[in-house]
Symmetry: C2
Subunit: 192 residues, 2 copies
């Protein structure tokens, strides 16, 4: 039996690297999400924290009850909040995960106004709010406090946050086999 | 202009009473949920807390991309957690809303094992976890701490929680026009 330094048992599936670097149009942006979901499972199993992805809201138009409540007409709705929330060390945690192929900056165009409003409310009520941003091409993932992103978002002349800002004000997140995106360490450094 | 005692402006729509008492097979259980959703909107507008309903998870089988990403085959999945979570006074809040037509007790049959496990994890991580239970026939709504429900759930000889237990250990929730189910007052009494 092979063990990791922390005593957990090595399993063969762990050797599969995250396929995050090989991106196609269809899976672009999905691997970071997938890696965070797997990381959250790890955190849950280890009793580290309880953070979950909110289900994608779907507007159901028509259900066929003759075939066991099969949905036959529906459409995706935009998430009016962020993708993830939960609890860590008694505190409320709320974050959004985004990725970019840019090397020099993170464009703010794919952040929605209602997500900014939601994160402002989280901060107002005393929660911990941040973004996890992956620079795919650089192979780097950062945690950046939501207030920093809100400030950039509200300064309308800027359309993106330069990578230098992430390096100076964010926390780089360790990546590995398991946990894949060990963002809770960055949360510890930043907020505790 | 007519105003409520707290200074908010009276709107005609507020005079419509919650139709919770007139229940049919199709809306049974939905009105409590609806009333809590409207209450959460009220709390959000007044900056009291930020608590949201988790979207119902739906497993999407087939999407028709020729007609603007219309979902043409999907099915509902069971919520593996609770229906509501969010933040209040810096604390993580997590709860499940249930209703019963019984007068004497609340049957535990409609609480799932994974919901109990989820609530145990919330308590473990220092969050506030509870149930909101409506006794429809009595017109009463109670907040009961999740640990109490977990204890009953694990004592397998009991299949329900008697109303007397709610009266003695729970907090009765004020009902009104707006907010409809003022559960945050009960949270204050119980946890702060």
């Amino acid at each position: 039996m092979i063990k990791y330094p922390d005593g957990t048992v090595y399993k063969k599936k762990d050797t599969k690297p995250a396929k995050r670097r090989i991106l196609t149009a269809s899976n672009r942006g999905m691997s970071l999400e997938n890696d965070i979901n797997i990381t959250n499972e790890y955190y849950k199993d280890k009793d580290i924290c309880l953070i979950l992805k909110r289900p994608t809201p779907i507007n159901v138009v028509k259900v066929d009850y003759d075939h066991g409540a099969r949905i036959i007409d529906a459409y995706f709705e935009k998430q009016s909040t962020t993708d993830y929330n939960g609890i860590y060390r008694g505190k409320y945690i709320d974050f959004e995960a985004k990725n970019t192929k840019n090397k020099a900056s993170f464009p703010l165009s794919n952040i929605y106004k209602h997500q900014i409003e939601h994160l402002e409310a989280v901060i107002h009520h005393g929660g911990i709010a941040f973004f996890i941003v992956e620079f795919e091409t650089l192979g780097k993932v950062f945690l950046l406090d939501a207030q920093d992103v809100i400030n950039f978002y509200k300064r309308e002349e800027r359309k993106s946050i330069p990578i230098s800002y992430f390096i100076e004000n964010g926390i780089e997140i360790d990546q590995g086999y398991n946990p894949r995106v060990d963002y809770i360490k960055a949360v510890d450094k930043k907020y505790f």
